[in-house]
Assembly symmetry: D2
Amino acid sequence: MIIIIQCPDQVGLVAAITAVLAKHQLNIISLGEHVDKDENRFYIRLNVEQPADALLLEQELKNVLPDNSLITINPLPQKKIAVLVTKEYHCLADILVRNYFGTLGASVQCVIGNHATLQDICARFDIPFYLVSHEQKTKAVFENEIIEKIHQYQPDYVVLAKFMRILSPDFVAHFKMQLINIHHSFLPAFVGANPYRQAYHRGVKLIGATAHFVTNELDEGPIITQQTIHVNHTYSADDMIKAGKEIETAVLAKALELVFDDRIFVYKNKTVVFE
Amino acid sequence: MIIIIQCPDQVGLVAAITAVLAKHQLNIISLGEHVDKDENRFYIRLNVEQPADALLLEQELKNVLPDNSLITINPLPQKKIAVLVTKEYHCLADILVRNYFGTLGASVQCVIGNHATLQDICARFDIPFYLVSHEQKTKAVFENEIIEKIHQYQPDYVVLAKFMRILSPDFVAHFKMQLINIHHSFLPAFVGANPYRQAYHRGVKLIGATAHFVTNELDEGPIITQQTIHVNHTYSADDMIKAGKEIETAVLAKALELVFDDRIFVYKNKTVVFE
Amino acid sequence: MIIIIQCPDQVGLVAAITAVLAKHQLNIISLGEHVDKDENRFYIRLNVEQPADALLLEQELKNVLPDNSLITINPLPQKKIAVLVTKEYHCLADILVRNYFGTLGASVQCVIGNHATLQDICARFDIPFYLVSHEQKTKAVFENEIIEKIHQYQPDYVVLAKFMRILSPDFVAHFKMQLINIHHSFLPAFVGANPYRQAYHRGVKLIGATAHFVTNELDEGPIITQQTIHVNHTYSADDMIKAGKEIETAVLAKALELVFDDRIFVYKNKTVVFE
Amino acid sequence: MIIIIQCPDQVGLVAAITAVLAKHQLNIISLGEHVDKDENRFYIRLNVEQPADALLLEQELKNVLPDNSLITINPLPQKKIAVLVTKEYHCLADILVRNYFGTLGASVQCVIGNHATLQDICARFDIPFYLVSHEQKTKAVFENEIIEKIHQYQPDYVVLAKFMRILSPDFVAHFKMQLINIHHSFLPAFVGANPYRQAYHRGVKLIGATAHFVTNELDEGPIITQQTIHVNHTYSADDMIKAGKEIETAVLAKALELVFDDRIFVYKNKTVVFE
C-alpha cells in the first residue's frame, strides 16, 4: 500500500503520520521524505507492508495534518492510459510491448493518431486505434474530437508519445497534470521545433530528451526525468534524430514507470521524485 | 544535526523516533529510511534543522528503541583522516587540494608512504609526510610502524589512496570499518593485481573503479560506490591505466564525501547509502 | 559501399588501398583505421560514396595487400538472422519491433524457442516460431534440431536473445563468429548463472550487460559492447533483474547495430569496433 | 609525430597524403579522417611512428594538396599556457597538480587573477601569479594589462579557468582560437550568468558543463566537449553549484587533454574531435 502526502511544512509531521500507522500495526517498508525550505512544503511517500482501510486511514491522517493537505492512499494499482501519436513508432511500440507483457504498470486503453501510420501496430496488439486527422478543421474541432475519444475511456493519464501537434491551453486544462510528454531535447536547450537540427548546427557534443508534464507554456511543464547521450562530429542531423529516438524511448519509459508507481509529486513548476 | 540509527526492524520505529524529535520541537529537513527485509534490519538517517542536547536525545531514543540499537547523534562535523600512499599521486593530490581549500569534509592529519615519491607534494601543502619503507623488514614490523604513526593522530578514518601493499588481518583489525580503499577495478571483475592489464587482455569495453571498506578478504569489503567509463580497441594497457586514474580519483572523492557526511551504514558485507 | 580489410601490418597499406580507390575516382566519406602493435595487425573500414564493381575492386586490392588479407566489399546491405529465445521477452520484442519497422538493419527469418512462451508475440509480427524443447532428449539431439531449423534459413547471424541453455562446442563450431549473445552481467564479473543474485549478495553499486560473440568457453568470447547502470541498497535481487532487462535490451540493440553495419572486426579474443 | 591537415574535400586526398608518407617509409599507427559533406571539408589526423624532416614533409604534402590547405606537422610536444582565474579554485588546482606531476600535456607559464584569492596556491606550486584587478579602470585598460602579461610568456593557449569577467571582442581578437573557456552549463541551456540558479528554478534533473573556444558571441564559440550529471529535488541551488564544480573540473581537464594532444580541428563554429 502506497501513501503519498504533500502539505505545508511544520514540526512533527513525520511523527504524526507514522503514529497513525503504528497505531494500526502497519509496517513501513520504505519512506521517502522531502522538505522544500524555499516553498515551506512537505512531501512524504510511504510504502506500507500491509493493506488497510483506506477511508479510515485517510480520515485519521486528515485529523493530524494541516488543512489543504493532499493525501492519496492506495492509489489504483493499475492506471489506465490513452496514448496520442503522430507517425514515429519508437515510444508507442515500447509502450505497447510492455503493456502486452504486463510490465507497463498501466493499461493502455486506446491510441489516437493524427496520421494512420501506427494503426497496424496497434491492431497487432489488439489496442483500439482512432485516426483523428487535424486536416481541414480548426484546432478547436480537432482537439474536441480527441477529447471525446479520450473521455470514452476515462484514463488516469494521457501520454504524448511523439504527438507532433501543439496543444491549446483549453486542451491542457481538460487534463490538468494528466498529460505526460516526451520532448526531443534536453530542455531547456533547443525549445521548440527541430531540436536535433538546432543541435547539429550548434555542434553540440551531447543530445538529450526530457519527459515532463504539460502545462500551457510550450515545453515548460514540470520535468519528470531527462537524460543525455554523447554525439560527435560524425553525426549528421539525421544521425542525431536516430540516436535521439533511442534516448526518447528510454526517458519516456523511465518517466512512466515513476508516474505509474506514484513516485512523482508536482508542486508549482517542479517535481519531487522519490526513486 | 545528523542522527543515524540502525537496529533490528519492528513496527513503529519511525513513529517512536520522530515522536522524540517532535517533543523537542526539532524540525526534520530530510529523512532517509530503509528496511532490509532479508536481514530484518532498520536504517534511518535524519537531518534535523536545530541543534540539541545530544546526550539527552540519545538517552530518550534508547528508551524507545530495541536493545543493541546503534545510535550516533551529531557526529563530529569535521572528521580527521590519515592517508596511506605508495607512488601514484592522483588520489592524494585531489585529497590535499580539497583539504587545503576546506571542501574535503575532513582534515588530513598526516600522509604515510612506503616510497618517498609523494613527500614533496605533502610539503607544499604543509601536511606531515612519513616515509615508512616496507623493505628489509617483516610485514608485521612494517605494519606496526605504520600503526604507530597513525595512532599519534587518532584519525577517524584511514584512507588507502593507491597504497599498493596488501595489509594483514591484524592491521585491518586495528582499524575496523575505518579503512577506506580505492580499488583500481570494477569489482568483482579483475580482483587482485594488474586489473588494467587483465582488462586489456580480455578486450573489455568498460573499465571501472570501486571504493570500499577494507575487511580481511582481499578486495572483498563492503562497497561504498563504483563507476565505469567506456574504453575501446585503441586503448593500450597503459591508456587504460591512465583513464583508470581519472575514474579512481572521482570514485574515491565521491566515497569520501559520502563517508564524511555520515551517509553510509555498514552491516555485514554491504552498505546502505543515503545520498 | 563499405570496404573492410584486416591483415598483417606493414608500411604503406593505407596508401596502397586508397590509391586503388582513387584510381576508380571513388570518394571516401569516412575511414576508420587501427593498428594493433602487439599483434602487428592492421584494420581498416572505408565508407565509399559511390558503388563499384566489387569483384574487380577485390582483385585489385588483393594485388597490393599481403597474402591472407581478409577483404570484404559491399557486404549485404540487409543481413538475415535467426533468433534463439527461452522465456524472457525484452530482447526479442525489441528485435521484432525494429524488424517490423525496418530499422533493425537485418531481417528476422525465424525465432526458435525451447519454451512456447514467446510464440504468440512472434505470431503477431508474422515471424515463424519453432518450439524446440530441450526436455527428454540429449543435448546433441536438442542442438541438432535447432541447427536443422536454422539451416533452413541460412542466416548470416544467430542471435541468442536470452537463450538460457548452454551450447556445446559442436554447436558453436557450426556457427563460427555468427553467434551473438547478450550476457546478463558486466563480464568478467559474475560469470555463469544468476549474476544478479550474485550482484545482490555482493552489494554492488553498478550492474551491467555484455554483448559478445560466442566461443567455446562459457561467457568468454570477444566482447562487442557493454554498459552499466547504477543500483543501490533499495534494489532487491528481483529489482536488479528488472533493471538488468532494460540494460540488456539496450546493449544487445547497440551490438546488433554495430554488427549489421559492418563495424566490428574480430581477431583472436578481441574486437575492433569502428563506431 | 602527429600530422593534422584540413582542406576542401576532393577525391584521392587520403591516397595522396599516405603515398607521401609511404615514400618515406613512415608507418601510420592511427589515422582519423572525416569529411563534412555539408561544408565539403576534409579533415585528417595521422599518428606516425617515426620522426621525419617536418619542413620537407610539409612541402611534399603541399604539392599534392589543394591550395589553402592547413597543414601542421609535429606540433610542439609541449604547449605553453597561461591561465586566467577569478576566485574559484577547482579548475586551476586541477591544472596546477597535473602541471606539477608532468601529466598536463602543457606547461603552465603564469596565472593571472582579477582577485588575489588564488595567489597562494600558485606560490605553493612555484607558478607566477599576477593580480590584475578590474576595479577602478575601464575594461580596455583592464584587458590591456592582461594582454601585456600574457604576451611576456607567448603561450600557445590561454585557459579561462572560471574567469568571471566577460571579455571584449578586441581581447578575443588578440587570441583567435587560443582561448579555451569552461562554461558552467550544458550549453546552449542557461546561457549567461547564474546558470545553476536558473537550473534550480527550472527544476532540471541534469546539470552540465561545456568547454569551448571563445569567440565574440557570449557562450557561442565552437564546443570542444561537454558532460552532464544527474541532480534531483534534494539539490538546492548551492548543491547544484557544488556538483557543477566537479563536472566543470572534469570537462575542462578532458578538453585540455584533447587540445594539447592536437585532436581538435575548428572550422566555422564547430569542432571535429579525433578521440
